[in-house]
């Protein structure tokens, strides 16, 4: 993975943009009388985009349906395989885009961007080998949440910028007798645990595969250092941490039972709103960049985007209408109405306090979640195999060797390794 450090400039251009092209949304809906069928995840920002698309272009279409489900990842490949596909437009993220592309179910969007992309800035385009495969509209990443009042009470100055400082702060809070378990993180065994590993591993400067191949390369110094850090963090985490993911960690945070958290940016606005928590927690919660680790200089996080794609197996006219409808949604009015629902990459966005963590993490040059086709298999292997290490039954080297072995089996079966 070689990374041209365009990251900071382009991401921040998107994040910090003001309404530059505010007039370019006179809803061009493309061919009329088409059937537009959209599949997307189920959270407010996705609903806002698909909803705006329906509002703009639902009238011109013969049929406009939306299916929002958190299970989309599990149904989308099957739904897009037949010709014609069940859905024309799918709203995906880094990892789910790869899952669809692995089966060749998406069409290149170059011509459609040319025709209907007035609202779309170049930094929103996901191009793979020269073809535009998706149009991103929002960013997300893990980052640090802190309770400034508790840090102050424990005598910790400033906001921890490295994981080593996080550990010191956690120890100070424990020593001061304020909280026994001041830290929350999403390490539910499975996808979440592996994702936490990924963030720390990238923060240590590790890469997942031998360049250009599907050979795993995680059993190394960076991997061991990652697991050692993870074990130290777990010391200060809630005893149930191996069964906690976003919903649980958010609840603990809102209940005022944690002072340091590694959570998703998309939980920021939910935590900072006036529901589900007390004034004390909300007013003292600050969202900061993901910490760096091991003396490296990039935040330990994976950057994610959400964006839309168009199915390969639908008639061209339908694809055109679907693209036009979704592109029409990415306008400053939609963003203004849903400003705090996401960290928008769309013009017209004014970053609020809920976006500060993601913006700072992107600015710090964190890595995007890798988009290689076999990453899902490694992610799954890590999620299943690291639990022994987290319970103290295995050494870091053994756990990493197990994860590599489990990945190799899966990759051989999926045809990535011979």
């Amino acid at each position: 993975m070689t990374f041209t450090k365009l990251a900071a400039t382009s991401a921040i251009a998107g994040l910090m943009a003001t309404a530059a092209f505010a007039d370019a949304h006179g809803a061009a809906c493309g061919p009329e009388g088409q059937s537009i069928r959209i599949l997307g995840n189920d959270f407010p920002a996705i609903q806002a985009v698909a909803g705006a698309a329906e509002e703009n272009c639902g009238g011109a279409a013969a049929e406009f349906t939306r299916n929002h489900t958190t299970e989309m990842r599990d149904i989308m490949n099957a739904a897009l395989t037949p010709d014609p596909a069940e859905y024309g437009g799918v709203i995906v993220a880094n990892a789910t885009l790869v899952q669809l592309m692995n089966d060749g179910l998406l069409r290149p969007l170059n011509d459609l961007v040319e025709a209907y992309g007035d609202n779309i800035s170049p930094s929103q385009l996901i191009t793979i080998g020269g073809d535009v495969m998706a149009v991103a509209f929002m960013a997300n990443s893990q980052h640090l949440f802190v309770r400034t009042d508790i840090l102050e009470e424990a005598g910790v100055e400033g906001i921890p910028a490295t994981y080593e400082e996080v550990l010191e702060a956690a120890e100070a809070i424990r020593a001061a007798g304020i909280m026994e378990h001041p830290l929350v993180m999403n390490v539910q065994v499975g996808w979440n645990l592996a994702e936490m590993f990924n963030t720390l591993y990238l923060g240590h400067g590790g890469s997942f595969f031998e360049p250009g191949t599907a050979e795993p390369a995680i059993n190394n110094e960076a991997g061991v250092a990652t697991l050692e850090m993870l074990a130290q963090l777990a010391e200060y985490a809630h005893p149930d941490h191996l069964s906690q993911a976003s919903n649980e960690t958010q609840a603990i945070w809102e209940a005022g039972q944690a002072a340091l958290g590694f959570m998703w940016g998309s939980r920021g606005s939910a935590i900072l709103d006036d529901e589900g928590s007390t004034e004390e927690v909300v007013s003292n919660t600050v969202l900061a960049a993901a910490p760096t680790v091991g003396g490296m200089d990039i935040p330990s996080a994976t950057l994610w985007w959400d964006g839309f794609t168009i199915a390969a197996n639908i008639p061209d006219e339908e694809a055109e209408a679907t693209f036009a409808a979704l592109a029409s949604a990415l306008n400053p009015d939609m963003v203004a109405a849903n400003n705090d629902a996401a960290v928008w990459l769309v013009d017209g966005y004014t970053p609020g306090p809920a976006a500060a963590g993601v913006a700072a993490t992107a600015q710090g040059g964190a890595w995007p979640y890798p988009m290689v086709p076999q990453i899902g298999l490694l992610h799954n292997a890590l999620g299943a195999e690291l639990s022994d290490f987290m319970q103290g039954n295995e050494s870091a080297e053994e756990a990493l060797a197990d994860a590599e072995a489990a990945y190799r089996d899966a990759a051989r079966e999926a045809g990535f390794l011979q």
Partner: protein, 344 residues
């Protein structure tokens, strides 16, 4: 019954069984012998909101050509069955050669995904099944002794655990044993240990799952035994009483032998059901400490993004074989009883 009549009688069932059970199993078996065709990888430049990286992607055209040539994928024989994710012959051989004590050897073996799941699955099956039989019988006898007016409501309440969907039942219990929940917090108070958590220890998680398993299956054995108790012959019972048999002796020598066919029936069903334990693990989010064979299948199909059909197929076949092995002693015994009786 004449053979011809019997044939026509059984034909609809036989057709349905073949179409919906036998053929799919054959298809799963064939699938488990294959792995996917090679994915041809090429390196291209990926660009997005966070900059550009050099990444590999699948060369769709080259891969499609391979796929069209071999629609079923590459033949792998029993390779999937013997790899590390399943029977792991290679890893077991190595563990045998390199470890010095039995403990170290078992440690290594139980670290392998299939054997770890098998260990939990078997423990669960062999603990839950006898408890379900014993407690179910006890509840049935108890309810049978109740005055008539209480019987209806008691039967209804005793059946509740079975009426609640397993996923919902386990979720409710999960929230109760959570460190913030009523049972979890009370235990912390009693033990005076604020970091005690039922969900953070492998042993306690196993116990919790097993207790849940027993609780949710008792109604099944209870209702079957209760029905059976209605048929205990009154003459024999009276005769036993006149002969001076105590309550316990009557239970031991009259009721239980009378209910024996039901015991066999419940054992069979419970062994099959418990060997396929799945919902409680998902409901209790217990996959950190307890995994079953069914959970592995679920994980292969769902969590890896693009599903691993071969692996899931192989684990399914191994599960079927496991159920067959478990049931064989009971079936052999029943068959022997049957042939012995028919020779009289």
């Amino acid at each position: 019954m004449k053979h011809k009549t019997f044939f026509w009688f059984i034909l609809p069932t036989l057709t349905a069984m073949t179409l919906f059970i036998a053929l799919p199993i054959v298809s799963v078996f064939i699938q488990s012998l294959h792995i996917q065709h090679e994915q041809v990888l090429i390196t291209v430049e990926n660009c997005g909101p966070f900059g550009c990286t050099e990444e590999t992607v699948i060369d769709q055209e080259a891969t499609r050509a391979l796929r069209d040539a071999q629609p079923l994928g590459q033949f792998n024989g029993l390779g999937t069955y013997t790899n590390r994710a399943h029977l792991a012959f290679g890893e077991i051989g190595e563990a045998w050669a390199t470890t010095e004590s039995w403990g170290a050897f078992f440690d290594r073996v139980l670290g392998l995904p299939f054997y770890r799941a098998l260990a939990f699955t078997l423990t669960y099956t062999f603990v839950v099944t006898p408890f379900v039989l014993l407690i179910g019988l006890a509840v049935a006898v108890g309810v049978n002794k109740l005055p008539k007016m209480f019987k209806g409501p008691t039967i209804f309440f005793s059946l509740l655990p079975m009426m609640i969907t397993p996923l919902v039942g386990s979720l409710i219990l999960l929230w109760m044993v959570d460190a913030e929940g009523i049972i979890g917090a009370t235990l912390q108070n009693i033990m005076n240990d604020p970091s005690l958590s039922l969900r953070a220890s492998a042993t306690l998680t196993w116990i919790m799952l097993i207790v849940y398993g027993i609780w949710s299956s008792i109604p099944f054995s209870f209702i079957v035994f209760y029905a059976g108790l209605q048929t205990v012959p009154a003459d024999t019972m009276e005769a036993a009483m006149i002969d001076g048999a105590s309550k316990w002796q009557r239970m031991r020598h009259v009721v239980v032998p009378h209910l024996m066919p039901l015991v066999v029936f419940i054992t069979l069903i419970q062994l099959m059901d418990n060997f396929r334990v799945f919902e409680p693990i998902v409901g209790f989010q217990a996959q950190a400490y307890a995994r079953s064979l069914s959970w592995i299948i679920f994980n292969d199909l769902r969590e890896a993004g693009n599903p691993l059909y071969g692996s899931a197929g192989a684990t399914s076949m191994l599960t079927i074989i496991g159920v067959a092995i478990l049931l064989s002693p009971v079936l052999v015994r029943t068959y022997r009883d049957y042939t012995r009786k028919s020779t009289h």
